[in-house]
């Protein structure tokens, strides 16, 4: 039994319109059916690009957002159905560290008061003196001097403020800490300090983390299990090493190939799978597989009509794609290149083909691409879209990244 289990969690925000009566005209499907489980003492990393719903999901676990549907089972209790008074008690055991360390600390409270507030609310420590001692302990643990207690947030640097945010979570002796982009506001040299601190604390206190971040390298560094989110749903979940060694979902493949590696040798050798277009709006997500509008491997059947479930493909590596096995085996090629030859029926340079195909089949892309078909001139433009790279090259690309030297 896992410590924290999410079962089909959905968070939909209503879109309201109207002056007198708030009519609900639609929903933003921020999180749309996510199931995952976090084991005690482990780190679960949630990655995805902006707008994929990862932050909303993290907040939903703490019920900082209302959960539309689904369950959040923490240590045997379904938090989604708890009355808010009881939920409050549970928040001691589930704490959060926020992205913006300055914005999440009250500028008018000194550090002692910030840290003591939560303790008083949850009845930790008998009196101020006892709390003070505890705060001193925790500050030392996160690497802040004890004179920090009487100072104010603006007196600290970004990295120190994030340490305060972590200390604020720690004073309540939580079981789970949800870290929402814990290091993305920090400079790289300081980022490493905070990552190391999080790891040390986990080791010494046996904490469980749910880390939400957009930086794949950071998540890969600290997580045991990684879940990749796209437009409100998990598309792939695997142990950190397995995910890195062999991403199976086309989106993960593209994401991995896009992360720059600070090593010219690696950068020069690898080929990127460039995705075209942007994330579709979560208010109007594409039917079927959410990724099919940008997927280089999209197929005629199923992809646009049927939403693939997250299925285990062995060794706890779960993928939500209809064609995982086929892509792996190479029997399914990148359609944007092959499908188009059929459309045109003649030998055409792949680059032109892609552009034309886009113009002729607007349904394949999100709203931004409703290119009228009357623009054949467009085909002359140099396509910088990657789908033009033959499937073979892309497959190689991922291979290369995997084999990169671990020096």
């Amino acid at each position: 039994m896992s410590l924290l289990e999410l079962d089909g969690v959905k968070v939909h925000f209503p879109v309201k319109k109207g002056l007198l009566f708030d009519r609900t005209v639609g929903h933003v499907y921020a999180v749309d059916g996510v199931s995952l489980s976090v084991e005690a003492g482990q780190t679960y990393g949630l990655v995805g690009e902006s707008g994929c719903g990862k932050t909303t999901l993290g907040r939903a676990v703490l019920r900082l957002n209302d959960i539309t549907e689904g369950g959040v089972v923490f240590d045997g209790t379904d938090l989604a159905k708890l009355p808010s008074e009881e939920m409050r008690a549970f928040r001691r055991r589930l704490q959060m560290v926020f992205q913006d360390p300055l914005g999440s600390l009250n500028p008018r409270q000194n550090i002692e008061s910030i840290l003591a507030e939560g303790m008083a609310a949850h009845g930790i420590g008998k009196d101020a003196a006892e709390r003070r001692k505890k705060i001193e302990d925790i500050l030392a643990k996160v690497g802040l001097p004890s004179n920090a207690m009487s100072r104010y947030p603006h007196e600290f640097s970004g990295g120190q403020r994030q340490r305060i945010g972590i200390a604020r979570a720690l004073v309540l002796e939580p079981d789970v800490i949800i870290c929402d982009e814990p290091v993305s506001a920090l400079d790289v040299s300081v980022q490493a300090q905070v990552i190391n601190l999080l790891e040390e604390l986990q080791e010494s206190l046996g904490l469980t983390y749910l880390v939400i971040a957009h930086d794949l390298a950071v998540v890969r560094h600290i997580s045991d299990v990684i879940g990749v989110m796209y437009l409100g749903g998990l598309v792939e979940e695997a142990p950190s090493d397995a995910l890195y060694a062999g991403p199976r979902h086309p989106y993960t493949k593209a994401l991995m190939s896009a992360v720059p590696v600070p090593d010219p040798e690696v950068e020069d050798r690898r080929e990127r799978i460039l995705l075209h277009g942007d994330l579709p709006s979560p208010a109007n997500p594409p039917a079927g597989c959410r990724f099919h509008t940008r997927c280089p491997w999209v197929q005629e059947t199923k992809c646009a009509t049927e939403r693939p479930p997250l299925l285990d493909t062995g060794d706890g590596h779960k993928v939500a794609c209809h064609f995982t096995a086929e892509i792996e085996a190479g029997t399914v090629k990148q359609t944007l290149a092959t499908g188009i030859e059929a459309v045109i029926g003649t030998e055409t340079v792949a680059a032109e083909a892609v552009e034309t195909a886009e113009a002729e089949a607007p349904a394949e892309k999100p709203a931004e691409d409703e290119a009228p078909a009357e623009e054949p001139a467009k085909a002359e433009a140099p396509a910088e879209e990657p789908a033009t790279v033959p499937a073979q090259a892309d497959a190689d690309a991922t291979e290369q990244t995997e084999d990169s030297p671990k020096a």
Binding site: D187, V188, H221, V261, D278, E368
Partner: protein, 330 residues
């Protein structure tokens, strides 16, 4: 002769009743035609101020700019405003970090792009509109005719950045300054934009000055890299040389503190201790000394000079550099 050669550029902000703040403290580098030069560093290292100084975009009051910045033989820093205005947008162009706040929110994209074409190329009316559409098309914005009528908020982040790039390249500039062009974007969009910039450099021979904090971006794009710390270049080298043998303790530490996607899990990071606030003035010694694991007493005896301890062309400002015996951090 390089297209842009910057010598001992310094920028000091002054305010009455306050101590002067030196943001850039003697930065020198050169950019050639068709070359990509990177300025890398963390926040507060003076990389953005350098670019603003080059473009003449710093406020006139309260700023002291020193040194030389020669673009095609003319000193940008002493040029009069009228001449500079002719140069900016036509021969010199800049891409900013935040595409939303650098576009005018109440003016359609089309007008913002044609404005440049009118000002510098004298194109008018339908001609300018056509040219604007072809520019948007060139940077990969689908359906440019419709996009021209839209406002910045109607475009996605990646598309806004493309629109900015379209404006920057409208007059085929000889030097393009990109200040954190992809920082506000998601990685998949970042990859698209970097690809686009690479194409521009390859096809047009534009010189690109790339300002970023992301060493990963530098590794894939730049020919020459300058690592800045507290307003000075502490190391400059070709990118292969720099990444293979980071010699200044700061560059070395920076590379050691980045989690890498291809590093085996469980390998600890080696952060640099302290923060940028722990620095001393360059005049008194090495600004990095308080955070440095390699520092000696000699570090506090005045500004270290740029030397070439390893190979020619690999300059390091350090009296006790990290030499090859140390392993290259993974």
């Amino acid at each position: 002769m390089s297209l842009l050669s910057v010598e001992e550029l310094s920028v000091t902000f002054t305010a009455r009743g306050r101590k002067d703040a030196t943001a850039v403290d003697g930065v020198s580098f050169e950019v050639d035609q068709g070359q990509v030069v990177g300025l890398v560093g963390e926040s507060g290292c003076g990389k953005s101020v350098t670019s603003l100084a080059l473009m003449g975009l710093l406020p006139r009051k309260g700023v002291r700019v020193g040194g030389r910045a020669e673009f095609d033989g003319q000193n940008l820093l002493t040029m009069n405003e009228r001449k500079l205005r002719d140069l900016r947008g036509s021969q010199l162009a800049m891409i900013f970090q935040d595409p939303l706040s650098s576009l005018n929110p109440v003016v359609p994209i089309g007008i913002q792009v044609t404005e440049i074409l009118q000002r510098h190329r004298g194109l008018k009316g339908e001609k300018a509109r056509k040219e604007a559409a072809s520019l948007l098309d060139r940077v990969g914005i689908p359906d440019p005719d419709r996009r021209l009528k839209e406002y910045p908020h109607q475009l996605s982040g990646g598309m806004r950045q493309r629109a900015l790039i379209a404006m920057a390249v409208a007059c085929a500039p000889r030097l393009l300054i990109a200040d954190e062009p992809t920082t506000a974007l998601d990685v998949t969009i970042q990859a698209q934009i970097l690809e686009l910039l690479k194409e521009l450099v390859d096809q047009e021979g534009t010189a690109l000055l790339m300002i970023t904090h992301d060493l990963g971006v530098v590794a894939g794009l730049c020919d020459e890299v300058n690592v800045l710390y507290a307003g000075r270049a502490v190391e400059s080298a070709g990118r292969r040389e720099l990444f293979a043998h980071p010699t200044h303790p700061y560059a070395h530490g920076l590379l050691g503190s980045i989690p890498r996607l291809d590093a085996p899990r469980g390998e600890p990071l080696h952060p640099i201790r302290g923060s940028i606030n722990d620095k001393i003035a360059w005049a008194d010694g090495c600004a990095f000394a308080p955070r440095c694991d390699h520092y000696t007493m000699e570090c506090l005896t005045g500004t270290p000079e740029l030397t070439e301890p390893r190979t020619a062309g690999h300059q390091v400002r350090c009296v006790n550099p990290v030499l090859p015996k140390a392993e290259v951090p993974a």
